[in-house]
């Protein structure tokens, strides 16, 4: 395979991968953030302490976390077909990716939010703040650097999952590596997809670390 043959394939594969990962990240954020915050808020001694709700969310998150992604994806095929109309292609892959990433990110959110000093929560309650105020003005802003770090980890995990989704016809770089690199023994092409993946992962990690550093530096600024 010449570079001219590889290039359009790699370009399309990268676009498909970013498309899948991008949408799945958005859903992970929308679904995982509230779940993670709820896991903390409903815990004992917290503003919305509720053992039943806490256990139920915990169990759901654990089930989602313990299923290997490839199995989750296959198990979700009927659901995916119901939502998207098909079980193949990048759009179809977004469904299992999002569902796999939500509990993953939720646990990271939980850890980040739990780290926030309880004294701050108490101070805001003492000045008359509601639980909403506590979440919006204390928990999320104080946990922001850890949340960004968690999101970075989630995106990188999603890039890995998306390659697996390729095995079940998801499209993107994973499908390319399998169909061209593995099944047709195009070692050069396999290498090229691996390089592209490394570049994407590194870029995401650097971007995430950069934002975290910026947030930390802001807290040290004298203004």
């Amino acid at each position: 395979m010449t570079w001219d043959e590889m290039r359009p394939l790699l370009e399309q594969g990268t676009i498909d991968t970013l498309y899948m990962v991008g949408w799945a990240t958005l859903y992970a954020l929308i679904g995982g953030l509230p779940l993670g915050v709820l896991l903390v808020l409903t815990d004992r001694g917290r503003p919305l302490a509720n053992v039943v709700v806490n256990r139920v969310i915990g169990v759901i998150v654990n089930i989602g976390r313990s299923l290997p992604f490839i199995i989750l994806m296959v198990a979700l095929i009927p659901f995916t077909r119901f939502v998207v109309g098909t079980a193949v292609g990048p759009t179809a892959a977004v469904v299992p990716l999002a569902i796999g990433a939500i509990p993953f990110f939720a646990r990271l959110v939980e850890t980040a939010v739990r780290e926030v000093d309880l004294g701050l929560v108490e101070a805001v309650q003492a000045m008359g703040g509601s639980t909403w105020t506590v979440v919006l003005k204390v928990l999320l802003p104080q946990a922001l650097p850890s949340l960004v770090a968690g999101l970075t980890t989630t995106v990188i995990a999603l890039i890995g999952y998306s390659a697996m989704a390729g095995a079940a016809g998801g499209g993107g770089l994973g499908t390319l590596a399998l169909t061209y690199g593995y099944q047709r023994f195009e070692n050069g092409f396999m290498l090229a997809t691996v390089v592209v993946l490394i570049v994407i992962v590194t870029a995401v990690q650097l971007l995430g670390d950069g934002i975290v550093r910026l947030l930390h530096r802001r807290e040290r600024s004298t203004g």
């Binding site: 108490e122 101070a123 003492a126 008359g128 802003p141 004298t222």
Partner: protein, 337 residues
């Protein structure tokens, strides 16, 4: 201003009941600084957190500015709107300051104003005004990580004042500070108390805090208030452990052929030449073992330990003379009489 009646708090920990507060009653007058002192674990923290219902008491009532907060709190842990509004009118400062590291000093003071729903302009104006009041106008844009402990507590105080409170609760506010900074923060609290007529309820384990700022004080032990009253009255009470703790004279070295006497001078008696009169009238050799003078609020209080020759039974007349002079007379190590 603050009335606590028969407050009880029982925790359930590992199947056992732990009584943190055991029938505590306390009244703090408007404009007064009241200190609750006690060892850690005595229940002070639980007590102050019950005042604004951060902690729900098991029984008893707390009334602030005539409003029964225990009734507002209702059942469960969530604070309804009436309680939240009431809390907005009670300032609170903390041992570890509890400032948001993600916000500047000004941003931290603006937080309660945001909760009150003030507009951006109004918030900034008021926050800067409050920072100026606590002497930090020039550090408004610094983040907490940039401030010293004393400066952080000043931001904490400015933030506590944002709701124009009549009552300020102070939860070991100076315990994390060095002695010098403690002094300046206490002076600030004293000034605010006088300027704004702020009623202050503070808890501490440092005697110096009570000595420096408190009009009245209570001693807390095992979930009960064992002594309570105005600091100068407590000092005039023979056998008051709070007075002993405030102005310690150390352990008495007693003997069979001498009488050790602890005297407390206050009010009129402070100026009278009592000791020389005692020596002249009763022809006694009085030796002074130790003495201390302190200013409590605006009054001078002196304590002195003297030794008289002969056992206590033979010194009945001199002791009576000392009592007649308006002094508080105690024989250390013996039952208070």
């Amino acid at each position: 201003m603050i009335t606590i009646s028969d407050l009880t708090k029982v925790y359930r920990a590992r199947g056992r009941d732990v009584t943190a507060l055991d029938g505590v009653s306390l009244h703090v007058e408007p404009g007064e600084v009241h200190g609750v002192i006690g060892r850690s674990g005595a229940g002070k923290s639980t007590l102050i957190r019950c005042v604004n219902q951060l902690e729900r008491p098991t029984s008893g009532t707390v009334t602030v500015e005539g409003r029964d907060l225990t009734a507002l709190a209702g059942k469960g842990n969530r604070a309804g709107r009436p309680l939240r509004r009431a809390r907005g009118g009670i300032g609170m400062i903390f041992q570890h300051f509890n400032l948001l590291s993600s916000r500047t000093a000004q941003g931290n003071v603006e937080l309660p104003l945001e909760i009150q729903g003030l507009g951006r302009r109004e918030r900034a104006r008021k926050a800067l005004e409050l920072l100026d009041l606590v002497g930090l106008a020039d550090r408004a844009r610094a983040h907490p990580a940039q401030l010293s402990g004393g400066q952080k507590q000043r931001v904490g105080i400015a933030r506590a004042l944002a709701g124009d409170p009549k009552v300020l609760l102070s939860d070991e506010a100076t315990s994390a500070l060095d002695p010098e900074t403690t002094g300046s923060v206490l002076r600030l609290l004293r000034d605010l108390n006088r300027q704004l007529g702020l009623t202050v309820l503070l808890i501490t384990h440092e005697m110096d805090v009570v000595k420096t700022v408190c009009d009245s004080a209570s001693l807390m032990e095992d979930g009960r208030l064992t002594e309570s009253g105005r600091v100068d009255d407590l000092l005039a009470t023979p056998g008051s452990r709070l007075a002993h703790a405030l102005f310690p004279l150390g352990a008495a070295d007693r003997g069979p052929d001498r009488t050790v006497v602890d005297l407390t001078f206050h009010g009129e008696a402070a100026g009278a030449p009592v000791i020389s009169r005692l020596a002249r009238v009763h022809g006694l050799d009085v030796s002074i073992v130790g003495a201390t003078v302190e200013t409590v609020g605006t009054r001078q209080i002196g304590r002195m330990r003297i030794e008289l020759p002969g056992p206590a039974e033979k010194n009945a007349a001199p002791l009576a003379f000392l009592r007649d002079q308006g002094l508080t007379v105690e024989l250390p190590g013996e039952e208070p009489r």
